[in-house]
């Protein structure tokens, strides 16, 4: 019993101060992708839809529909098209409305890369 008490006194407070202040560990978390619409061509969009293992990406005409709720932050989309997809760094994704997690990304890239 005295051991952890002394150790605790030496270490100081380890509890995060989130949500009052940002937590330092947030920067290393894997997060959903952030897309660059100007780099997204129809071809790339199709390949991204194929590659997503959790069916978070679908095509609808000239839009890429991204379901942030289904995304597992695996990073496959980013690795396959690093110019078109970066990491978003967003982890505070809670919502009361499921449909708000479904985002539409326009495909503004030139076809035929």
């Amino acid at each position: 019993m005295p051991q952890w008490f002394v150790k605790g006194l030496r270490r100081g407070v380890v509890t995060t101060r989130y949500p009052a202040h940002a937590d330092s560990s947030a920067s290393i978390l894997p997060t959903p992708p952030g897309f660059r619409p100007e780099e997204l061509t129809s071809q790339i969009a199709d390949s991204l839809v194929q590659i997503c293992p959790s069916c978070a990406l679908t095509r609808a005409g000239d839009e890429l529909i991204f379901d942030a709720g289904a995304c597992t932050a695996c990073g496959q989309c980013r690795e396959s098209a690093p110019r078109a997809v970066a990491t978003s760094g967003e982890f505070e994704l809670a919502t009361t409305d499921r449909s708000a997690l479904v985002k539409r990304i326009p495909l503004l890239g030139e076809a035929g890369q």
């Binding site: 959903p32 897309f35 289904a70 997690l101």
Partner: protein, 178 residues
């Protein structure tokens, strides 16, 4: 308070859906104000890989310490205010999930967390419902695979209206974040 028919997330009838959403919002706000600054959480694993459970368990550890925010874990649904559901709602678990939900006295909240519970990863088939809201009425969704304890904390605080949602402002477009 929560509509007792499962919300399927369809956006048919946008205008009526908006008013419905607004009404549900208002109702939820009035209910969550009743909880004050204390909430008892009952976790429910409907067939997940337990990664979400490990993150949820970390919430009670000294670093994240959800008790300083007034949240407590309880195993008894009779004492719980909020049901934290993970997993793709396996059909074999349906009866147990229904019983747990009904054993909680109102007012109650349901929070679905993890990509499985939100409908990703597994499609509805012979073994699973696919997502939690096929069976239970969900109030708050927390994405992640698994959601980090910080994401869970944000989700719980959104559920009790102590933090605003950030999703409406996010577009997942690189370089144009707010």
């Amino acid at each position: 308070m929560t509509p007792h028919t499962p919300v399927t997330g369809s956006s048919a009838g946008a205008a009526s859906a908006d008013t419905e959403k607004a009404a549900a919002e208002a109702l939820r706000r009035s209910v969550t104000s009743q909880f004050g600054r204390s909430l008892h959480i009952r976790t429910l694993d409907t067939g997940s890989c337990a990664a979400c459970e490990q993150e949820i368990r970390l919430l009670a550890a000294p670093h994240y310490d959800l008790q300083r925010l007034g949240f407590f874990f309880t195993p008894a649904p009779r004492h719980a205010d909020l049901l934290l559901v993970t997993g793709p709602m396996l059909r074999a678990f349906g009866v147990a999930a229904q019983k747990t939900y009904e054993a909680m006295p109102g007012p109650k909240l349901v929070v679905a967390t993890g990509a499985c519970a939100l409908g990703g990863v597994f499609q509805p088939d012979a073994f699973s419902f696919g997502s939690v809201d096929q069976l239970l009425p969900v109030d708050v969704w927390i994405p992640g695979c698994p959601p980090s304890p910080l994401a869970l904390l944000q989700g719980l605080l959104v559920a009790v209206d102590r933090l605003a949602e950030r999703i409406p402002r996010l577009g997942f477009v690189a370089g144009s974040e707010s």
